[in-house]
Symmetry: C2
Subunit: 305 residues, 2 copies
């Protein structure tokens, strides 16, 4: 970790988090959440997903949510744009600076999760990416199941690497390598990221779930290898809707920031305020907070953050 | 972490864990737990505490528990021996290979927790240590609150270091530096352990609570600095009875072993069996398992450990 001066956090709570919650927040509540998150000092927030209201009611009216946001100079707003119809909704949104696409390193997960084959998902990207780039937008692609798939088990690293190279050639500027079912161990991370060394680390983000309590350890392993972009979700919300719901939880943003500050890495994020946003959100959602730090702070007054 | 070939785990569940549980286990159940833990491959187990039955009923009859154990060639059995009366019970126990004593880097925590001043606790040690060493026993001393105290806040590192040096001179062969209230961050760990570099790392064990979700990260930081002995408790039981009960749990042994195996460090421990012991114990105690790994395994079948 020595020598790392800054780490970039991609807050995925308003999308990856909320889409897995049984309770739906209103447009107003989601806008307010995003604004509160930005106010803590976060520099990138995934704000929603352009899907049909009936398919994923938690993400309904993402266009309305994003229309209420202004283009920010300090925070990148992104949203999931899963298909061309979604793009037609997204392209007019002034505040949108990055679109996120979703595919998988595993063929079977792609079929079960996205409802198309891997090659079909790439064909869809081949249409959307040039359109988004023509509008000056950045492109993130989620590559799920890089460390293992609930249907296929272990996933071939060379297959993931070839897919990653293809996506970068297609114009993607950030690949989020996801441990979708939270099984990555440190030595597997080392193996995969060593295989990915042909790709500049600035194009790689890491997306860990805390299923087995290793998300923080995984982040440390990645930082040790020079990777500096990590996804996390406020209050540890989220996970993968197609994996067992009890499996996950994303890494909690509060815990990630606490780790970074503990390592002496400045983030510019107000951690107390972040915890407060997470606690309020959990009250709104009638759920418990999955950030260990927040749970700890709720129970004592001596912890200095 | 590169280069570390082995890590020594001190399982403190049967003492530090059980003493904080509202339900008391019988002598038979505690003996069985210790034997099951040893059967997983653990090489050091703290088996109980020689205190009066009325003061800490969870630890009642520790003499009977230990009398049922045989001296092991593969596993060190230890027990907490807080005073001279305790020593009179402990000294005849054949299976006992190490006694553990308890003091604090913080004067106020010592007074509140042990009921005597720091210098009085050292005076008691000065009587017990020579007696135990004359019997060929090893001596562990818990130095609590090294990273902070619920009463004093930050604790002076030089004070901790001077105390540690005194204890080693007195014949202690292992100091367990405890983050009693679970507030240590990685940079604080670095600061303290750098200050402790005058002490051979073979004399140092680290005792982390997972209050803020950082126990695993803390272990990684310590390993990075060459420290290889860690305390943990099956199922993440325990914590500090005099700190807020909700603050802790110890680092779960299951999670620690999972980390080590994930790093490619062999422990000789059967992790599946260990998880099974933890789950059975939690059923006995009517409590939830605080090992993230076990929680994860309970909810899915795809995780390979």
């Amino acid at each position: 970790m020595n020598g790392l001066e800054s780490v970039h956090i991609v807050e995925v709570g308003p999308r990856d988090g909320l889409q897995n919650e049984p309770r739906c927040l209103s447009v107003h509540q989601r806008v307010s959440l995003i604004q509160q998150l930005e106010a803590t000092g976060l520099k990138e927030i995934e704000c929603g997903s352009f899907v049909s209201n009936s398919k994923l009611p938690q993400m309904a009216d993402t266009d309305k949510v994003m229309a209420r946001l202004s283009l920010s100079q300090t925070c990148i707003y992104s949203a999931l744009v899963p298909n061309q119809k979604a793009w037609s909704q997204a392209e007019g949104i002034e505040a949108l600076q990055r679109i996120a696409l979703f595919t998988s390193a595993s063929e079977l997960f792609c079929q079960h999760n996205i409802g198309c084959s891997l090659s079909e998902s790439l064909k869809a990207f081949a249409v959307i990416i040039p359109l988004a780039k023509a509008k000056g937008l950045k492109i993130r692609v989620y590559l799920s199941c890089v460390w293992g798939c609930p249907y296929e088990g272990r996933v071939d690293i060379n297959q993931s690497l070839a897919l990653a190279a293809t996506l970068l050639e297609m114009g993607c500027d950030q690949l989020s390598l996801a441990d979708t079912i939270g099984i990555a161990t440190q030595s597997q991370i080392k193996t995969v990221l060593t295989a990915f060394k042909s790709i500049d680390s600035e194009h790689i983000a890491l997306h860990f779930h805390n299923s087995s309590g290793m998300a923080i350890a995984n982040v440390m392993q990645c930082m040790d290898m020079g990777f500096v972009t990590f996804d996390s979700a406020i209050a540890g919300l989220g996970g993968c809707p197609f994996a067992n719901a009890l499996d996950s939880g994303n890494l909690a943003t509060e815990d990630l920031v606490y780790l970074l500050h503990g390592l002496g890495i400045e983030t510019g994020i107000d951690l107390k305020q972040l915890c407060s946003v997470g606690n309020s959100l959990c009250q709104l959602l009638h759920r418990s907070n999955a950030s260990r730090l927040s749970l700890s702070l709720l129970n004592k007054s001596t912890l200095v953050i």
